[in-house]
Every structure is written in structure tokens, then in C-alpha cells.
Amino acid sequence: MYNTRMITVRLPQKKKELDLPGPRRVMDLLADAGVRPTTVIVTQGKKLLTKDHRVEDGATIDVISVVSGG
């Protein structure tokens, strides 16, 4: 049986959305998405997640870039 429930990782500034298998830590999801942890904050609804937070299947998280041009 394939696991049909995935974690949705949204990268709004890149207008990108990925479905990744879970449950996994935020830092691992970021690595898979090719995002360096020191350049983003990761949110789930109104919650801010630490990089070692375990995200469960079926969850949606937002990866917000914090790097500004000046």
C-alpha cells in the first residue's frame, strides 16, 4: 500500500508547492526542498516551528524566506 497522505510544503515566494512523505522533521523537509534553514522561518497555521519539530502526514507547512534585498 502506498501512503497517500503527504506533507504539503508551500514556498509562497517561489510560488512552489511540494508534497513530501512524512512524518519528518522540519530540517529534513527543508533539505529535501533545497532550502537552507538559516534563510527561512517555517510556519504551520499560526504556529512557528523549530527546525527539529516533527511534522505529521497530512500537515501543510509554509516556508517563508526572510532574506531581503536591502
Binding site: I41, K47, L49, T50, H53, V67, S68, G69, G70
Partner: protein, 339 residues
């Protein structure tokens, strides 16, 4: 992961550079202490100051305004509408909404109404957008501050901005820029107000986390004009170093600010005396430093601009010269069209 301070609540922010992780309430305390310590250590603000906070709609400037208000400073916000299609409208919306939530009405300068929207001005003057933007912002920061009798102008430059600028200045051995780079740029004479960067101790991740946890709705898209800014290259390099060696950024910047550092001369060096001449209208080094300079650099003695009265070393200030270039380009274009 539990909060390292209260040891009870779940941590929401992990900060490897501080070997710490905080729950929202403890993070607010930590963040505000970082900012107030940064203000106190470098004597950036006095309790009686009237602070003009330059807000762009981005996280840093709105967070700065929020913290300064919470700390009891008398503040007003200044928003400069750059006239960039779509982006400026969305940024202004965020500023107005945030200001309204705090019972404030920001001062708004619309560059289109001033006849100098950034994209068109840059095309007409054949200059980089960030350079034009720096000249124009610098002019209005001083003008609005002087007209409104503000004692100080505060901008939201953070640790990442300042270290990126420092790296750029070092890589190009910009000795004159290095000598003056500091979170405190003293005012000088009439029309040149003191400028401060109270967020110099906090990183972009920290300001973003603070803004998110405080429910500040900021614009997350980047200025479309700054996509190729060299500051982003320096930021990426520093961020890669920070990944491997957390805490390097703050050590780098604090070491630079050490009064014994021969590369810099202290805040007094920000005054124009002895400023090295630079070519006319030289593009700003990068977006991060676009609003950095004080009186436009040059040679000779400071005087009032013949057109507008702003401090300058030339007959007219760089803003008036820019406006003149734009006016001439428009006239030429109009003449071509009518032929």
C-alpha cells in the same frame, strides 16, 4: 524542544547563534532586550527623541516601529511610495493596515506625485534603480525629518544587512565607507538629521519570527528592482558561513564596531569632513547601502543646495540634479514624439 528560558513551554524559535530556543513569550523578551541593548550600548536614542521610523512594509521596518512604540518612544512612520507597479501598492497597504492597528497614520510621500517614480527616473537618468532609490530616500528622510522637527531617523537595517554591507566594503576595500559604517550616523548642521539602525544586533530570521509571532502582516515579496542586488550575494555567503559556524555574523560585526578597530573612525567619521571624493552619481554599492550615505559625498565645503536648500557639496544637491536629468530626458522624449 523546550524553551531554554522558562523550561516549561514548547520552543517556537531556535537560535543556534545564541545556543538557545525560546517559546513565544520568552522570545519577545529576548528580542526586545537585544534591541534595547543595541540602543543603549551605542547610545542610538534618548528617551526624549522624536523618532521618524522609515517603513517600507517589510518585516524589519514594521518590527522596528512596533518595538520602538512598545518601548515608549515617540514615533511617527514615514512611507515612501516608490511608484513601482503593484509592489508599491501592496507595500503601502501593509504599512497603512499596521499603522491603523496601532492608532497611527503614517506620513506618505508619493514619488509619482513628486515627479520622480523610481523605475522611470532610473530609465531617464540611466542609473541603477537602487542608486536612484537611495538618493531619493535619503533626500526625503532628511526633508521630512527636518520639516516635522524629528530629532532622529530610524531605519530597519538588521545584522544581516550590516554584515553584508561590511563584507562588500571589505572585499572592495572601500576604506571611506568602512570608516563611516556604523549604526549611528550623526546629524550635521541644518537639514541633516541623525540616523540610527536599532536592529543592528538582530538577524533577519529573528525579525521575521518576531513579526510573525506578533501578528504583524508584512509584505513578504521582494522589491522587484533589487533582484540582482549584490548585497544578496554577500548575504548568501555569510549565511552559508553562519550555517556551519553559528554566531559568526555577530562576532564579525561586533569586532568591526570595536572602537580600537583601525578600519573605522567611530560615529564622528560619518560626518562629511574628509570624505573621499567619488565619481558623480556613482551607483550605490548595493541595495543594502542605498540609503546609507549622509550628505552626498564630494569635495569642498558643505553648503545649501541652490534649488532646495538641502545640504550638499555641489551647487545643487544630488536629488535636484537627478530631477533635472529626468526632466531633460522627458523633454527630449517629448520632442522626439512631436517630430
Amino acid at each position: 524542544m523546550k524553551c531554554k528560558r522558562c523550561r516549561r513551554a514548547e520552543a517556537a524559535v531556535d537560535l543556534p547563534s545564541h545556543h538557545a530556543a525560546f517559546c513565544p513569550d520568552c522570545f519577545f523578551l529576548f528580542f526586545r532586550r537585544q534591541v534595547t541593548e543595541g540602543i543603549r550600548k551605542l547610545r542610538l536614542l534618548a528617551p526624549e527623541d522624536r523618532v521618524l521610523v522609515c517603513v517600507s512594509g517589510g518585516k524589519d521596518s514594521l518590527v522596528l516601529w512596533d518595538v520602538l512604540m512598545d518601548e515608549g518612544y515617540e514615533t511617527e512612520g514615514l512611507y515612501i511610495d516608490l511608484g513601482i507597479d503593484g509592489y508599491s501598492d501592496r507595500s503601502k497597504e501593509k504599512v497603512l493596515a499596521y499603522a491603523a492597528s496601532r492608532g497611527k497614520t503614517p506620513i506618505v510621500v508619493e514619488l509619482a506625485k513628486e515627479g520622480i517614480p523610481i523605475p522611470e527616473a532610473a530609465r531617464c537618468a540611466r542609473m541603477q534603480e537602487c542608486s536612484v532609490c537611495g538618493t531619493v530616500k535619503r533626500y526625503f528622510f532628511n526633508r521630512v525629518a527636518a520639516e516635522g522637527k524629528f530629532t532622529v531617523v530610524a531605519t530597519g537595517h538588521n545584522l544581516d544587512d550590516e554584515t553584508a554591507r561590511l563584507l562588500g566594503n571589505l572585499l572592495h576595500w572601500q576604506r571611506d565607507h568602512l570608516a563611516r559604517q556604523h549604526p549611528l550616523l550623526p546629524g550635521a548642521g541644518v537639514g541633516l538629521v541623525r540616523k540610527v539602525k536599532p536592529l543592528w544586533r538582530v538577524s533577519e530570521v529573528e525579525t521575521a519570527a518576531y513579526g510573525f509571532l506578533k501578528g504583524i502582516d508584512y509584505v513578504t515579496e521582494e522589491c522587484p528592482m533589487s533582484e540582482d542586488a549584490t548585497s544578496l550575494v554577500y548575504k548568501e555567503a555569510l549565511s552559508r558561513i553562519e550555517d556551519r559556524m553559528p554566531g559568526t555574523r555577530i562576532v564579525f560585526y561586533k569586532g568591526f564596531l570595536d572602537p580600537s578597530n583601525p578600519l573605522r573612525k567611530g560615529p564622528e567619521a560619518a560626518a562629511p569632513a574628509g570624505a573621499a571624493p567619488v565619481p558623480e552619481d556613482e551607483p550605490a554599492e548595493d541595495a543594502a547601502c542605498a540609503t546609507e550615505g549622509e550628505v552626498e559625498e564630494g569635495v569642498g565645503t558643505e553648503r545649501a543646495c541652490a534649488e532646495c536648500g538641502a545640504p550638499t557639496y555641489a551647487e545643487t544637491c544630488s536629488y535636484c540634479r537627478l530631477k533635472e536629468r529626468v526632466r531633460k530626458a522627458r523633454s527630449l522624449r517629448a520632442a522626439k514624439v512631436s517630430r
